[in-house]
Subunit: 379 residues, 2 copies
């Protein structure tokens, strides 16, 4: 277990990967464009540089044996070159390439008979209008940018033809809106020897406006048959990609009890942060196990858990201050995790809080108490 590993990206996911790597004393280099990235002091070697520049990524990769990512917006051509030269690149560049582009991703689901909402690929804004005219049943829909959408950016709701002007004037995918009961997620790990292991299905509650996870519950309150559907689709998706590493699979549970693929990410994911505290193996340790071709770990949860994102307060921009931290630290089974970002901005992800309790009602009460107690403001 002596390879030198490189991570593209040194934000909060990198931070949690580094924390998990300490158990096995892994040697890790980190590349991030931000000289003040969260990871800068917690790795064997930190390099400031662009993740999307071919030469930077290629040269960074020359210094390590195994390359992985904590963000999918990276230069895939450089990763392909490194892979050709014998470096281990996990997840594989081909998987990243497909997932990077929501058009290729949706098409991949369709090509592999993975259940997903109906959609059409669109070239530009005019094309969206043309296709809606031909197929009015697509509305209400979401128009998603093919590339570079992230955390709610790059998605527009097109409810009626009156909204068509909001569509992106760039290649995208127009996806029929799912009238869902719940949003679910399953994190899957797969290693090189083909072992596959899923985490328990979680239930995500999105912020009504921000299109990012407000909080989640693990395990999801769903019937065993729905759970089986979700687990099966997640596993089939990971196997279809043949991914080595983690695949975070976001799903819709429709009002008719059908489970549909929403989208996937080839890396640790916000929907698995609670596993650091609540599960035998965390998603971060599982990522290392997967990409180092080690046996995958037991994913059992110890207790029901919730995870809240700690977002920067609206109207506050500047050096971050955490109000109410002492209060939440006094609550049993409440674990704040701060990402170390110096500056808070409205709705910026500044940390998360895991809440655990054996009793579901008490868990919900604790979540409400935490939400009422803590705020990230500027100094």
């Amino acid at each position: 277990m002596n390879p030198t590993i490189g991570i593209l990206g040194g934000g909060q996911l990198g931070l949690m990967l580094l924390q998990a790597s300490i158990d096995w004393n892994l040697r890790i280099h980190v590349l991030d464009p931000d000289a003040q990235a969260s990871c800068r002091h917690l790795c064997t070697h930190f390099q400031q540089g662009s993740l999307t520049d071919y030469d930077t990524v290629y040269q960074f990769g020359q210094g390590v044996d195994v390359i992985t990512i904590e963000i999918e917006k990276v230069n895939v051509e450089a990763l392909e070159a490194l892979q050709r030269e014998g470096k281990q690149v996990f997840p594989q560049p081909a998987v990243i390439r497909t997932i990077q582009d929501k058009r290729l991703q949706k098409q991949f689901f369709r090509d592999h008979n993975l259940p997903t909402a109906d959609f059409v690929l669109t070239d530009d804004r005019a094309d969206v209008s043309r296709q809606v005219a031909q197929n009015p049943d697509l509305l209400p829909a979401f128009h998603k940018l093919g590339r570079d959408g992230y955390d709610g950016r790059g998605v527009q709701r097109v409810a009626t033809t009156a909204d068509l002007h909001k569509a992106f004037d760039a290649p995208g995918v127009l996806e029929k809106a799912v009238d869902f009961e719940k949003e679910l997620a399953v994190i899957v790990a797969r290693n090189e020897r083909g072992e596959v292991q899923t985490f328990p299905t979680v239930e995500m509650v999105f912020h009504p406006e921000l299109n990012l996870v407000d909080y989640l519950f693990a395990p999801a309150s769903i019937s065993e048959s729905i759970d089986q559907q979700a687990q099966t689709i997640a596993r089939q998706t990971a196997e279809a990609f043949g991914i080595v590493g983690l695949l975070a699979v976001e799903l819709f549970l429709t009002k008719e009890g059908e489970v549909l693929l929403n989208e996937v990410a080839p890396r640790p994911h916000n929907s698995g942060h609670h596993t650091i505290r609540a599960n035998v193996t965390s998603q971060f340790e599982q990522h290392w196990r997967a990409i180092l071709n080690l046996p995958l770990g037991d994913t059992t949860g110890y207790q029901p858990a919730a995870m809240l994102n700690l977002l920067g307060e609206d109207g506050h921009t500047g050096p971050a201050r955490y109000e109410g931290l002492d209060t939440v630290l006094a609550m049993p089974g409440v674990f704040p995790f701060l990402y170390g970002k110096a500056i808070t901005k409205p709705f910026r992800k500044m940390g998360h809080i895991t809440v655990m309790d054996p009793d579901l009602d008490t868990l919900r009460q604790k979540v409400a108490a935490v939400q009422g107690a803590i705020r990230v403001v500027s100094e």
Copy 2:
């Protein structure tokens, strides 16, 4: 929660403190004499230097707001000077001074009516003989060096007068050997506001020759009344010291069902490593909570756990290689933690392995399987 913290010592305990600090994004400087110390890449600032040199410790302390330790063999005078100048030094220098010297430590127990084995303080080897002549009931006994004993060094068994030549020719304590049933340990945390919290009592099995923990079980298999005694003594001891931080309390359970203090350490301890995986709050997070005057965390264990020290194989000195790691990683609920020491030596602590299982018999079987599967050898 923005102080800069300094840790004296950058070995495995420092490593685990750093790992726990990542959740709260603490800014940490580390001082260690070894330029290759485990912590060197995992802190905000690493400084190579002596822990026992006044100037080095004093100057290191000037650069931080809060100073703590991961080893008690440090320059206490420098810590006292830093404390006088308004730095927060936890555990307090006075506590470190008492505990550093086994003579002062034992006398402290006696002065505070804390139950402990009978003993006499001895000036030198001749004094040991004199005192045994006056009080032959002290034998069989252990002669312990007052200062600088560590991990089994600095302890000699004096079973009969024929062993008197083995006694140290330096200030020490001659302590009547306890005919014990079990060795127990309780880790206590106390913060500045006087909150005290104990971890569940564990049962340690020492290596028959090496005088270091071979493995431990948590919780200990003892009656509730014995457990209460152990917990009460541990709490009283922490309160007697008025310590801010962790106090690891080692205890004997005698064959008569009496609980006696053996010795204490003012820091995270080998007897609490399993808490990283097995307890709601780990001893390392609890240390941060205690010295930063935050509310202490819930210490409940999720499942019965065992901890095995991973010692360098006898006869092997050189670059370390871990045989059987893949095998133990495939066992559910088995968590190796490697300290990143480049060189293995016979019986050197190279890591530890936490083993968990809801069922005690299965737990014991897993421990045996792990012991049979893994070895640290030289390359």
